[in-house]
Symmetry: C2
Subunit: 350 residues, 2 copies
Amino acid sequence: MRVTLKDIAREVGLSVTAVSRALNGHKDVSEATRARVLEAARRLNYYPNSIARGLVTQRSGTVGLFSVSFTQSYSIMSDPFAAELVDAILERFGETGYDVLWFSRSRIEKADSYVALAVQRQIDAAIFLGLRTDDHRFAELRTIGIPLVTVDVPIDVENAVCVGCDQVMGAYAAVSHLIEMGHRRIAYISGHWHAPVSHERREGYMKAMAEAGCPVRDEWIVEGDFSRASGKRSMERLLALDPRPTAVFCASDLMALGAMDAVRAHGLRVPDDVSIIGFDDIREAAEAQPPLTTVHQPRHLLGKAVADTVIEALREGGSWKGKGRILLEPKLVRRATVAPVRDGGASAAG
Amino acid sequence: MRVTLKDIAREVGLSVTAVSRALNGHKDVSEATRARVLEAARRLNYYPNSIARGLVTQRSGTVGLFSVSFTQSYSIMSDPFAAELVDAILERFGETGYDVLWFSRSRIEKADSYVALAVQRQIDAAIFLGLRTDDHRFAELRTIGIPLVTVDVPIDVENAVCVGCDQVMGAYAAVSHLIEMGHRRIAYISGHWHAPVSHERREGYMKAMAEAGCPVRDEWIVEGDFSRASGKRSMERLLALDPRPTAVFCASDLMALGAMDAVRAHGLRVPDDVSIIGFDDIREAAEAQPPLTTVHQPRHLLGKAVADTVIEALREGGSWKGKGRILLEPKLVRRATVAPVRDGGASAAG
DNA sequence: TTTGCCAACTTAAACGTTTAAGTAACGTCA
DNA sequence: TGACGTTACTTAAACGTTTAAGTTGGCAAA
């Protein structure tokens, strides 16, 4: 039923090898023969079987996309930043002919092994989204033996690259902006501490505060989990403080949106009473009321960088060594959730 | 380097066949032997090569997920409804051991053939998201020869099933609700007409209007493309009408959100001046200001139904015949964007 | 004792490719 | 003339599985 090289070979009266070589553009076939083969292939509706090819070449032509657990929430696509990033990665791969096998959280948990999935499916490279440093399968990655690209999680293996934005710089820019607006009591709603970005953004926050001579109080740093609900919860804790912070830097737009919910629920206003700044610049940030000031991460470039890194690794074959880290530049986007501080940040507030 | 059956066979002093049968649970191996094989497999870190297996069994153990073009917008994940649906599908598949090969829009466009991708990758079944009736590859689907599951696009082939909500019912419920609130001049902002759901929702709209004896004017039916921007554009056209509609039923939450933007931009208020109702109940609907009244589509059940249908087809093998259509029930979710009409819908308004 | 059967294996072929190695025909050059 | 190349092929093996068809030895039934 299925059309194979053998069918074409029979059709044009050649060996299977000759047909294979004609189709693959080798130069030891005459042009006349190649034309006949091509014609027959198209007439019979032949498409090469990548499974058979993979068996002999030892490369499947697929890359595995592991979406581990960006947030606490149900799964990865509920995080708009992840969704848009995935989008960009897939679009780029689509242009190349590599296909992407998607390993969802439940699949990963069922197999309980990255290596098992990688070996079984013979993927040529792996991309990790939402990898957590407390993942008990982390050590396994050392033995996986194929190019590895993680997003925002540096990992010290030779065949790995971490692609991401400069988180320290992004956070620094955000907090500096708040400081320029006169804020001094600035809080940081972080993502969970098992995400390296949470620490890096904290570092940028601390740096900006230190340079401005603003003391940082422990209770201004609250751990969320990147989700909107956690942003709201965290903001509630901050609003209970006396004096309360006049501005909050959130480690995700979702948390910033949640924080705005909390501010509103308290009968206060953004940015009049509290300035809020987010991170990511997801679609909803611009659409929020008021539009959210945030740190833009160039998702499309990130996705392209991820895909291009993988593609380069695949082309180079075994000789490829990871480049450590690829850092893109984030950019502050000023919208409407940051205002100059009203009381100079010196007096108490209730 | 790679551990194969041969390695295990050598290790335990058996033939490759015996090892294969032991691992696959055939009953013609002694329990003692099976135990030795299992032990060796685990000790050597053996994982079956699904490529080799696929070559002989003629089934790859993968299903193709084709995300064609839900909306006009860049790609599928920018549509929250699609993203959440995909999520549910992937999570369900993860529990089964089937793996999902994701064909993005660019991949589909590059190959320009569903059959080519299906045959090359030997996928066992295909899922179509965002298929449009004006897709020039539509006819191809007839010859694809594997189980086919589409979301919201009925397709008349024996090996296909369409999974989706009852769109007519959902639209009918939405418009009836508006009518109950006293509205009579009700507009419909549709998705593009190449999506069958646009027509089905229109049917529900017409049915509710007809039953209530409300005349429908041509200019009340506007074509968008499901995106927020198109919702805004469409609403602007409706606001220019005299008398303008007092309520609008939108074929997606995104368009409803866009419509709300337009209303606000006109200095009018939702729901005081215009009632708005959406479709889908994406996460942002509940979070909007004011929270959006909409028709909830049970994404999780939809995703599960899609996956379960595929899994069933795969288990049944060649004997499987599509069941035509699986219809789930949508449900109206009353939030805060619908209010009783102020002028009874009879007088003119500016 | 022979026959037959069963359990527990092994052998060999097959899946659809790619590729290393071989070959036949033909031309070229010394 | 013969050695050597080149061109355009073919042959055969391999990739790692599964599976149909044998094979062996032991045991029960006749």
